[in-house]
Symmetry: D2
Subunit: 338 residues, 4 copies
Amino acid sequence: MKTRVAILGASGYTGLELIRLLLRHPQVEITALGSRQQENPHVSEIHPQLAGQLDLPLEPLSAKEVAERANAVFCCLPHGASAEMVAQLLAFGLKVVDFSADYRLDNQDVYQQWYGVEHPDAERLGKTAYGLPELYRERIKDAQLVANPGCYPTSAILALFPLLKSSDVKPDGIIVDSKSGVSGAGRTPKQAFHYPECNESVAAYGVGTHRHTPEIAQYLTDAAGTKVDVIFTPHLIPMDRGILSTCYAPLRSDQVDQVQLLDTLRSFYQDEPFVEVVDTLPATKHVSGTNRCHLTARVVNGRAVVVSAIDNLIKGASGAAVQNFNLMVGFDETMGID
Amino acid sequence: MKTRVAILGASGYTGLELIRLLLRHPQVEITALGSRQQENPHVSEIHPQLAGQLDLPLEPLSAKEVAERANAVFCCLPHGASAEMVAQLLAFGLKVVDFSADYRLDNQDVYQQWYGVEHPDAERLGKTAYGLPELYRERIKDAQLVANPGCYPTSAILALFPLLKSSDVKPDGIIVDSKSGVSGAGRTPKQAFHYPECNESVAAYGVGTHRHTPEIAQYLTDAAGTKVDVIFTPHLIPMDRGILSTCYAPLRSDQVDQVQLLDTLRSFYQDEPFVEVVDTLPATKHVSGTNRCHLTARVVNGRAVVVSAIDNLIKGASGAAVQNFNLMVGFDETMGID
Amino acid sequence: MKTRVAILGASGYTGLELIRLLLRHPQVEITALGSRQQENPHVSEIHPQLAGQLDLPLEPLSAKEVAERANAVFCCLPHGASAEMVAQLLAFGLKVVDFSADYRLDNQDVYQQWYGVEHPDAERLGKTAYGLPELYRERIKDAQLVANPGCYPTSAILALFPLLKSSDVKPDGIIVDSKSGVSGAGRTPKQAFHYPECNESVAAYGVGTHRHTPEIAQYLTDAAGTKVDVIFTPHLIPMDRGILSTCYAPLRSDQVDQVQLLDTLRSFYQDEPFVEVVDTLPATKHVSGTNRCHLTARVVNGRAVVVSAIDNLIKGASGAAVQNFNLMVGFDETMGID
Amino acid sequence: MKTRVAILGASGYTGLELIRLLLRHPQVEITALGSRQQENPHVSEIHPQLAGQLDLPLEPLSAKEVAERANAVFCCLPHGASAEMVAQLLAFGLKVVDFSADYRLDNQDVYQQWYGVEHPDAERLGKTAYGLPELYRERIKDAQLVANPGCYPTSAILALFPLLKSSDVKPDGIIVDSKSGVSGAGRTPKQAFHYPECNESVAAYGVGTHRHTPEIAQYLTDAAGTKVDVIFTPHLIPMDRGILSTCYAPLRSDQVDQVQLLDTLRSFYQDEPFVEVVDTLPATKHVSGTNRCHLTARVVNGRAVVVSAIDNLIKGASGAAVQNFNLMVGFDETMGID
């Protein structure tokens, strides 16, 4: 019997991508789609891509209604709203992958500082598995709730974690300069993402203030075993999807060269199905439409320059969520996303 | 002394393009910018492109206020609202180039049918100069009010007018299949023009219902001397600017060949500063950022296939407006737009 | 035991797409990749997307070598070269899906006229199954060789075939105005496809001379039962993939309305897994990355305007090829491409 | 009488942009176009944008032939070839703006190390004016030869020069992470710049090895008064034109804040016609098609993050060249590029 799953917040880009992946998943049946859309539109009215492929409405769903229809839930609600729903879903015994930022940070003060609201379910902070299987696979397998990582943090943490862990690089003065496609900004129309505004243009945004900063810092701190601060600068790129992160970290010593950096990365990721350490410089196109991360490293003027590429909607969101779901439910980790 | 001009509806893309052109115009001073924007923002807050180049606020302006500051007005207001303002501006003796559709059609029933409202200034219909100097230069020179053409009509009419006039093609079964960049849809954020919706995609819209249809038909009827209906199909293309119209019209006879079509076009446009009949197939990039139209014709299976390319924001809007303004005021027609 | 397949001409975009699809196909093993590339590069050197996913070189392969390693072949060679190889592959008893134009036309004179060379295997013309399963499924099931359709013909024929067959439209004056992403032009760098040449631009090309014209005409003739000529105008659009065809055909009578057109299309395609007749106007994005075709129809001024959208690399090439292969080998038609 | 100018290497994107600018320049007549193109094509065959606007062939021209037709030369030849031609042009008494890298570096060993060839005119190194008028205006006014800056160096040096000069930032560990449109790669078709390869993708290239590195370092060294090394990482962005440089430099002390950084930049550039220090984060679209640079600064974790935006073909190449030419000839600096 297939696992029945619900998707809450199904009207956005991550929702669409999740549906596409789950329709190909041999052990899953999508049984409910939640949304704040009025009038219970058919899913193909919201996502014309799905015409003829999934016959469900998008509807406002309570936790109880979800529990009656599904065993596992992908929750794509905004932060704050998500934690409120997640707490209820967990009480019904459901397994939950949460796409929001609500359970990613350990510390409720840090959460409040960056997200501007008090955390509605603070006791779970610090006890929730962070959904990067490459780092925390065993915790994910045992979890009822997994905090699906942010897209930028996925690209930055996969790039820098092994090198901080191995002490190839020092935890000071780390810079993450990231470039993202526009789908990362969500599906709600806004001036900044109106086609003629962001096409044929590049700009930085949220310099020093982007909410993924403390998330990156927390998991790099875990790697380094000492507090890591990062300068994180996201940029908006005129393309649909993809994140490239160019990460700069000072080498521990002059002895560390490119060969050593690549060796460290390769040995860290050697058994990983979705992380590929490559020799050439990665491009987001090389991983577009896949759950893969391509990584490489160079040495320039005493620093490691580590470049990683992911698809923000898949490895940076919905693909990672299915990967986490597979682990939580006991399926092969790559099922439906290979 | 320079001519003082005001721009009403200066916050959109045609407004920005107009400001850019007029800042380079040696005989013009921009003295007022009208907008329904609250709080009188500085123009560079709305158009960061203009930082350091123009020191004016965008402000709600009455016709009287405009008349105190300017001798000529470019009116970029929505249809309906435009006619109400234009009537007042004319009463103050101002010269007006109107970007809206309000004065382009001769017939108030046709206007009401396609625009869904009663015309607020119907008596001027049929008496207003249509701002295609290539066709109606003398009327424009004498006009106090000029109706600036729609972007699609400009591309279609310039392509087909000479061939209908010369009877090289027949006025039956004419098809205009147009492709436009997204700036043509205006600057207000909407789902359909959200970057990840229209990037990497092509779609037709408004099939059989686009409001530029009667405008194209009216001026082609003028050319043919008999009623012309057109099938007009606009498409949205993932690019900022440009319109390519591929126009199909049956040849008058088997004797008409490509040489004759090109001869007709060349002799019609031989003295025109902004229309170029070319041998190769035009691309919108070849006219992007200019007030030019590139045109060519082919014969396929008994039909003329005429292809025209313009920049929708310049020859299709703001550049044509300056061209019309130059004629109305008595300047060299190409001043500021060459 | 899985079916062993070879791909000849694996270095292009259709080759990459085919490899991606076949890697997900549960009953296929890719055993050989042919290419004229020098030095037998690893497939991931040519297609970095495949790093860690397929461990094969691209190598020059004779028909005999292919026969030793594979039971079925996807042949993505250029026209002319393809027929020479295909004839040999068939002699070895292999099943072949041919991506070239070599076996699509029935008539060798027409082939010679449009392709400029004598056909190297003319006796098979008119006897080869054309790989549109929606039209010719039974012939494909029994075939050793299938001619995979051109991308433009797929979009045009799926749009117009049912309406010509039903006589809803007349076979005169048919116009197909198509818009394609740049991947359709292949992977070899050329001036016209250099990024800054075709980005932010639209142009028609091959007006009246594109080689897909006789292919479209031949299968529409089959539908109409009488000779059909078409005016086919392809356009290059600044996007990676996707074809939108806007097709114009005169209605048989004034009685035919939009409801009837949609009914005809829906009843023709009602059991088809990959063709969806939709109410709204299709966009190429809605089918991007899939083997699906979205279709709709409108009535304007006495003509049917039928709009179809496909992914040129999938339903227009590699997905259709897998669909054909599944039928030829006896697998479920949708295997690996659903 | 207008100044007669020649453009050598007129077939590329900088050549086209230069022609466009010079056609609008009131004091210039273009009298000769040099190119290695065979068969002396008309300029509109190479640049269809110029149909009807300039009636000249592209032809192979010796220095002597250039001297007979022009008083000033814009030389857009590749490095090495450029220096050989420039030396001859100077001997004929012509004024020259050289677009190549040949005269930008002071030191012939550094040149040889990065460009791989011996410098053909090494004695002029260190004596040639560097064409950033914002820094070296007086030298440019007196020069017979000006080395037009590289596009990336323009964006990086304008961002960091004032802050190093003022000692607001320290000259250690400077990182320049730049994002460029594809026109920066030139007009010759190559696999990496084939539309479907670089569209919808971002990648870094030349990490640690890009030839603009020593040029940036040399002029930042001039600012700091002590040797400056930089880590320079260029990225290719799917857009036609524009460079955004995100520059990271450690603050001199904790006292330095954003206000001070902006004050330093504003006072440095207060009289500059083409550099605008803005409050909001700049976007390349805001300067596209102009000779302007938009700049701002932020403080994050003890570092200045300075972001600059230019149009790589104008302020990064042809516009700067006209600006330099105006200074050399004695025209108003902004003539033709305002």
